[in-house]
């Protein structure tokens, strides 16, 4: 089944790309923005049909490779 993981920078970590995107959007006329944070999205098709087991596998991947927990948080989403 397909499991998704969203990786985002932790709140205290500077996100210069997000800042530039914010400024650009602002320049385009999108004036109602508090903040933009950029992240990463992964879709992993796991050979496992039990949702909780599949989520645990992807969570393990996040901890070991997909995210760097010093600077990033992850969020697991079941997509299928």
């Amino acid at each position: 089944m397909k499991i998704s993981a969203i990786i985002t920078l932790k709140k205290d970590v500077l996100d210069p790309q997000g800042k530039v995107i914010h400024q650009t959007l602002d320049g385009m006329g999108f004036k109602d923005i508090n903040e933009v944070r950029q992240g990463k999205y992964f879709e992993v098709d796991v050979k496992e049909n039990d949702p909780s087991k599949a989520k645990r596998i992807v969570e393990d991947m996040c901890k070991k490779l997909l995210a760097n927990l010093v600077i990033e948080d992850y969020q697991i989403i079941e997509t299928q």
Binding site: L14, P16, V20, L65, L66, V70, I71
Partner: protein, 227 residues
């Protein structure tokens, strides 16, 4: 003295490092990332470059490659492991040294000479050097050193900061910080000081006619310290 330089797919400073180590008396071997065994070494170097195209996070893929388990074991048994630039990024991804390297603060690739100041010489890399400020070269997009406040306290309490960015007089004000690194940190040791990660390239400063001689001083001193 024997050294090993690990070549990952995308490394591009591995041969420069080989030239530098050989010039100052190391018997150097190039080791492929897919090998299991590290040759007998007094020093292992993870070179600069763009291993695995900097995919996911710089150094993250390389840190999981086959040879790295041997490198980690070598480091944990007290062996000298030095990571330069992408090598530093690989070291932080293995967890051998604390922190991470984020994208440069002003989102630009920086390629220039910088001055660095040694913080402490009570380690195999810098002991016996008779000056504190060196001119090395940097070339990176992700050199912005970051760690949590708790990690920073631990790093400072254990004297793990290896080098700071500074000016030619050794002043470490914010204006001499090229990339936004916390406290101008350019290089870090592990607790035991046998693992060194740094963004600046000493191997690019080994010839007066091409660049400068500060790298020569570093390598000459390093081999004498290891002997």
């Amino acid at each position: 003295m024997k050294s090993s330089v690990i070549t990952f797919p995308g490394s591009n400073c591995d041969r420069d490092m080989d030239v530098a180590l050989t010039k100052f008396g190391f018997k150097n071997k190039m080791v492929w990332h897919d090998d299991n065994e590290l040759p007998k070494s007094d020093l292992v170097v993870l070179p600069g470059g763009f291993s695995y195209g900097d995919y996911l996070r710089c150094g993250s893929m390389a840190s999981k490659s086959k040879i790295m388990q041997s490198v980690i074991n070598f480091a944990k048994s007290g062996g000298l492991v030095m990571g330069i630039c992408n090598g530093f990024q690989i070291l932080v991804e293995t967890g051998l040294v604390p922190g991470v390297l984020l994208r440069n603060k002003y989102l630009e690739f920086i390629c220039k000479n910088v001055f660095i100041k040694l913080d402490n010489k009570d380690n195999p890399y810098f002991k016996n050097l008779d000056k504190d400020v060196f001119e090395f070269h940097i070339a990176h997009n992700e050199g912005n050193y970051f760690c949590t406040q708790d990690q920073l306290k631990e790093i400072e309490d254990n004297n793990q900061v290896a080098i700071y960015y500074c000016n030619n007089k050794g002043q470490t004000e914010d204006q001499f910080n090229p990339n936004g690194s916390i406290k101008n940190i350019a290089g870090i040791f592990n607790k035991e000081k046998n693992v060194l990660g740094m963004m600046p390239h000493p191997e690019r400063m080994i010839d007066q006619s091409l660049s400068g001689e500060d790298g020569s001083l570093f390598f000459k001193n390093l081999i004498n310290n290891i002997k």
